[in-house]
């Protein structure tokens, strides 16, 4: 295999493994993440056979909470990525194909969206709307995270639409929808999937930052970011509390980043506009 393909395979493998842990984890490790084991003492125990990753200060099993966190964080990232992908693709295609006026409006929207720090927008939104359940937070994350993707889609779609095969389709009488669905979208699939994978990674990291500020996925639902924040006070006395979710998050984001890089580089349809 060529190096990008091998890198992509490894990254995809890691992400798939995390996905399997999230889906099947509760079956393999059937411990309630919210169960308090040592109610009177409420101390965090070191890793042991009964608790491979120890317990947290509320005497809950860290492994079980980590698995629960994987479910939350991965679904959170997926939902946010799907929303960002949908909005970004739609806006980018509309800007590129639906005429100059639409292009100007969406272009201005993209410029504004990219100029404002996203974390700040999210914090303002969560402050204005109150603490959101995780799914709505993820949707909000997607709604604030499509601008870069839309810009990419717009520039690629514009280049494709100016190319010969799109012109041939217009000469045949193809409308905007056919142009978008048949001629542009299939040719930007690589760009789109890379951008979606990155959006997924960003959403997970941003949620962690929100959790740190106290505006993340609300307790008692445990996200990786929430677990890291909860564990940061015991960084030296019980390092496993913050370390385990940090490792999980960093592994996931690194794999996503590597996958996105590999997709960009390995796209076999990269030379669409090239002339002989």
């Amino acid at each position: 295999m060529r190096p990008p393909a091998r890198g992509a395979a490894i990254a995809l493998g890691v992400l798939a493994l995390l996905g399997v842990v999230a889906v099947l984890g509760p079956v393999a490790w059937p411990v309630d993440p919210d169960h308090v084991f040592d109610a009177p003492m409420l101390v965090s125990a070191s890793p042991s056979v009964a608790h491979p990753l120890g317990t947290d200060p509320a005497s809950r099993d860290v492994l079980a909470r980590l698995i629960a966190g994987a479910r939350v964080s991965l679904s959170f990232g997926l939902l946010a990525a799907v929303v960002a992908l949908g909005l970004g693709t739609l806006a980018g295609l509309a800007a590129a194909l639906a005429g100059p006026r639409t292009d100007r409006v969406i272009g201005a929207l993209i410029d504004v969206g990219l100029a404002v720090p996203r974390l700040l927008v999210l914090i303002v939104l969560t402050a204005a709307l109150g603490r959101l359940p995780w799914a709505w937070l993820a949707v909000t994350m997607g709604v604030t995270g499509w601008f870069g993707l839309a810009r990419q889609v717009r520039s690629r779609a514009r280049a494709l639409a100016a190319g010969d095969f799109a012109r041939a389709a217009r000469a045949l009488g193809a409308g905007t929808r056919r142009l978008a669905l048949r001629h542009v979208l299939p040719n930007i699939a690589g760009t789109l999937s890379a951008a979606a994978v990155l959006a997924f990674a960003h959403a997970i990291t941003l949620e962690a930052a929100l959790s740190f500020i106290g505006q993340g996925v609300p307790i008692p639902v445990a996200s990786w970011g929430g677990l890291i924040s909860d564990g940061r006070a015991q960084l030296w006395t019980s390092p496993w509390l913050a370390l385990a979710p940090t490792l999980a998050l960093v592994t996931c984001v690194v794999a996503a980043g590597a996958l996105a890089d590999a997709i960009e580089r390995a796209s076999p349809w990269g030379r669409v506009e090239s002339a002989p």
Partner: protein, 363 residues
């Protein structure tokens, strides 16, 4: 091929004073500082069944002219009538319906096919758009089209990257034919192909024209390709037509100095002929900053060239029956000698035929 334009029959395509100016410079708060005059006042008629060749070097506006005629690019001035209908007057839906009747074949066999569609789907697309056929019937017609252009019907499920340049070009032709057009713009259809393949594709195009009664606008960057294809030839320079004449007239007696240069560049098969090329001085000027007067005057080799060429824009006028030339130094001309003198002329118009002289010597 069929005969030249017949003046009594309404032409299939009638373009009048077509212009396409692209604004340059300027920004959000500044007006454009100028315009690139890609096409600057082109008028031509194309009769049913004829092949009009449009010849010029890159940047002459020939490709843009082709797109304007198909209304794939909207002209900034002028009109196009297709079979009597003003294309600018059509709403989007009737225009799309009209597209069935006029098609386009591209120069680049690599960029002109969607790499993510099988060639069968590419050829079938037009049938589906115009609801000419559906399902199995569409598949059957797709296969017939592939065979008509010399491809195997069972290749329909393959992707463009599996084909050579010549084969892809045949796919592009099949795509154009799928909707049963009357008129096809061939935008340098063989320029990107190997010489050996060029002849095959040209022959295919000529056969198709005969069988289907097609009308062609054949765009090329030199005269050699169109020699055996065209009924009439229009030569473009810097967005304008400088000579428009029947094929034989252009080859035997090119009158515009630029057309003469193009004519002299056509390779001659006879080894006894001493090929003397007219080599033009300098590069073609930028369409953003065209010369004043006759656009060709800075590179012109006409012996009577003088000050008036930089001041007067020579009109496209008839020098012989059906032979239009834009040069007031080639007689006869409607620009009187007095008018030329007012514009600073110092040399009388005189007939200048360097290419003809060359041919005569070899006889």
């Amino acid at each position: 091929m069929s005969g030249p334009a017949h003046p009594d029959v309404a032409p299939l395509v009638r373009a009048r004073d077509l212009q396409r100016h692209f604004p340059v410079g300027g920004g959000l708060f500044r007006a454009p500082t100028g315009a690139i005059r890609a096409v600057d006042g082109v008028s031509l008629d194309i009769a049913r069944g004829e092949t009009l060749a449009l010849v010029g070097e890159s940047g002459s506006g020939k490709t843009t002219t082709g797109r304007l005629i198909l209304h794939l690019d909207v002209p900034t001035g002028g009109t196009v009538h297709f079979d009597g209908t003003d294309l600018a007057s059509l709403a989007p839906a009737p225009l799309r319906a009209m597209r069935r009747r006029m098609q386009l074949v591209f120069q680049d066999p690599f960029g002109s096919l969607n790499p993510r569609m099988t060639i069968g789907d590419t050829v079938k697309e037009g049938l589906l758009i115009h609801r000419l056929a559906e399902g199995a019937e569409a598949d059957r017609r797709t296969r017939a089209l592939l065979e008509e252009v010399g491809l195997r019907a069972d290749w329909a499920n393959r992707y463009p990257h599996e084909f050579s340049g010549g084969q892809r070009q045949r796919v592009g032709i099949a795509r154009a034919l799928s909707v049963g057009p009357d008129f096809v713009v061939l935008d340098e259809p063989v320029s990107a192909l190997d010489v050996s393949v060029q002849a095959q594709v040209i022959n295919l195009l000529m056969d198709l024209q005969k069988q289907r009664g097609l009308t062609y606008l054949f765009i090329a960057h030199d005269l050699s390709v169109v020699e055996h294809v065209a009924d009439r030839v229009a030569v473009m320079y810097l967005g304008r037509i400088v000579e428009l004449a029947p094929r034989d007239a252009i080859f035997a007696e090119p009158l515009h100095p630029y057309a003469q240069a193009l004519r002299s560049a056509v390779p001659v098969a006879d080894p006894t002929v001493r090929a003397r090329r007219i080599v033009l001085a300098g590069e073609p000027p930028s369409p953003a900053d065209p010369p004043t007067g006759c656009p060709f005057h800075p590179r012109c080799h006409h012996p009577a060239r003088d000050e008036s060429c930089a001041r007067l824009v020579p009109p496209l006028e008839e020098k012989a029956p059906a032979h239009l030339v834009a040069c007031h130094k080639q007689p006869p001309t409607t620009i009187t000698w007095e008018a030329q003198q007012v514009a600073g002329a110092t040399r009388q118009p005189e007939r200048h035929l360097p290419v003809l002289a060359l041919d005569a010597r070899t006889d």
